[in-house]
Symmetry: C2
Subunit: 404 residues, 2 copies
């Protein structure tokens, strides 16, 4: 008998009928001879409703009380899911995060899992029951309810899979898996059968919204193999696992794009050793995350510094910087909010040369101007004009033969 | 500094504005120099919504899972109430039943409180915080969430008042207190300032819907003095406490009426020793509660047996009885579902003679026929025609001078 952890997201348990559908899927997996721990999210929309109710009370609700409030979303789903299973003759029992022994740190609304003590779960599994666990929540040392922040239910599933030493971990969502590109942009995009943690991490952090990076990082750290697949059909999904040799045969695994980027250019910055550090410290203090950075000495004798930020942060950056530049003794600011970030990702890049050249050629052939370039061992990232982003994704997808 | 336990019911916390209103009341009590533990119910309507959702999944939801589901109603209110207090500058912290240390037995949906271990609560009170506790819920020995059944939040408040040795316990509701009669029936009905546990118990069990008997019984057992009052004004309410000598000066404390009664008459029952026992055992097995019972030997040589039941149970009684009568060898059944039960209650009856006579006279003067009579030490109960019930209540109220 295999032990499987399944996780169903908010759309998969969005209403009573969908919960019944999930119960039938679980029953089927059980009838194939498996033991199951099932993690469920709140019904889609519920968490936002609860936040709205809190904000009708006070603009800035206390985070401890917010976690107390938000935890009820998943508590509803676990009870209803357990009932739906019992109604079709499957023994099931629900667990809150606290009952499941999911111990976290003290940071409300974005707690980290410190340890899982799945004593009760293992006992109920042994008794032949399906165990339904509330995602997204845990309990701290003082017995207070905490929540894990965005993507928290995925994290619950992966951490539980590690804790109960599951044979498989299946993350059910509303897409079929991870694709070589966004199928809305590239019609010939292919579902990826297997992908390494590192590739998944790069795609997750680059606008492929399938999963949050922290869940993938956790899976990588504890060696949890998981599959991302759809709860609305029975197609196989994408398996995410440790890199194996044959993965390197593929040069590029996928192409990701993030269209919500802005570019800030500071020109004629005085050429002092601490200039860049002063600027990025000021931005960090204002909680502005800087992504790509390029610096070069300008022909005027000063320095040109260019960086990208999330589009939402561009205005804040423009507000923070003048005071800094004044202190440094010069420099002009220009911001452009029409930037997209395109990335090609693949562990094969480590062993294949000429990937950058092929990418530049493909974009050049289409007359797409490259504004900034960044690279890592398994990724090349380019900033391009947002209006050209879709065309650039299609060109890159084509250039690396991802349409099969 | 006095320590006060306050309980606010579902209508008092029915929406965001009412929760803010409750927060202001709590703040006022605190500013008068008091420490507070506040018990809140689910917003009115929420529990029924949750039950409806469960029944959309399965007709007969498992009781463990139902408790897991229902507990979220109060968990929402505690978080919102704590937020509302913090928003007006009052330090507050919410507790689920489990966190409050409310330990119950294993009977889901109608658990009994076994013990309260208020360690965390006492610590937070000492730190100057208002402690907000979810009513209606607790935790059993296995760490599973239980609920306490109807009137559960009142019970939570009274049990907590005993556990933290509160100086006062205030039950806030949508009425001003306990009245000498239902003000909708008797316009001159008066609010009762003080009432003994026993009187309150008789009234609670007799259609005065202010509180469930079990909460009053718990208060009596542990000597918790409590006040029933309105959360919508600042009028003093009704104080419920141990009987004291001066209470006996009043002969009748109040008049209660229950209009949902039915009468079953079995005539010509064979006069055997076990006849009545056989009948009432059969009714008990069918979960039918019998209230008033009268038996007398009929002129025909058989026995006439008359009893009252809740109106809903009359049909079941009529279904169950024929088989029993057949076994006993005779008897005819007639049922009347147009019965009301009128009770006058007062500890003064113990020392005052002639109460029954005065009551019969008052009703007789109005031409109201008395169908059955039952008495206890502090109560006289009469069954009358439902159509005459209101008139009977007014006559009794008048006869004992309750309009002042």
């Amino acid at each position: 008998m295999a032990l499987i952890v399944q996780k169903y997201g908010g759309t998969s348990v969005g209403d009573v009928d969908r919960i019944k559908n999930v119960a039938r899927r679980i029953k089927k997996t059980r009838e194939e001879g498996n033991g199951l721990v099932v993690v469920v999210s709140a019904r889609s929309g519920v968490t936002n409703e609860l936040i709205a109710r809190a904000q009708a009370i006070t603009e800035r609700p206390d985070t401890r009380e917010l976690d107390m409030l938000l935890a009820i979303g998943e508590q509803e789903t676990i009870a209803l899911t357990a009932m739906a299973l019992q109604a079709i003759g499957v023994p099931a029992v629900s667990y809150t995060g606290a009952q499941a022994g999911i111990l976290t740190d003290q940071v409300f609304t974005k707690a980290k899992i410190k340890q899982i003590v799945p004593k009760g779960i293992l006992k109920d599994l042994k008794a032949g029951k399906i165990v339904i666990v509330a995602g997204f929540q845990g309990i701290n040392e003082e017995g207070q309810i905490t929540t894990l922040g965005r993507g928290g239910s995925d994290l619950t599933a992966i951490a539980l899979a590690a804790a109960v030493q599951a044979d498989k971990c299946e993350i059910y969502t509303d897409v079929d898996g991870v694709y070589t590109a966004d199928p809305r942009i590239v019609k010939t995009a292919q579902k990826i059968d297997e992908i390494s943690y590192d590739e998944m991490l790069e795609l997750a952090s680059l606008g492929s919204k399938v999963m949050q990076s922290r869940s993938v990082e956790f899976a990588k750290k504890y060696g949890v193999v998981f599959e991302v697949r759809s709860s609305f059909n029975h197609n196989p999904g994408t398996i995410v696992k440790e890199e194996v040799a044959y993965m390197e045969k593929v040069v590029v695994r996928g192409v990701a794009v993030d269209k919500d980027q802005a570019k800030v250019v500071i020109s004629n910055l005085p050429d002092k050793p601490a200039s860049a550090a002063t600027i990025f410290n000021a931005l960090a203090e204002a909680s502005i995350n800087v992504d790509m950075i390029v610096q070069n000495v300008a022909h005027t004798g000063g320095v040109d510094l260019t960086f990208t930020v999330q589009r939402d942060d561009a205005m804040s950056a423009v507000k923070v910087l003048p005071a800094v530049l004044k202190k440094l003794g010069g420099g002009e600011i220009k911001a452009y909010d029409n930037i997209a970030k395109l990335s090609v990702v693949g562990v094969g890049m480590r062993t294949h040369a000429g990937v950058a050249a092929a990418l530049f050629t493909a974009l050049g052939d289409k007359g797409i101007n490259i504004q900034l370039i960044g690279t890592s061992e398994i990724k090349i990232t380019l900033a391009v004009d947002r209006a050209k982003a879709d065309e650039a994704v299609r060109a890159a997808h084509e250039a690396f033969g991802l349409s099969k």
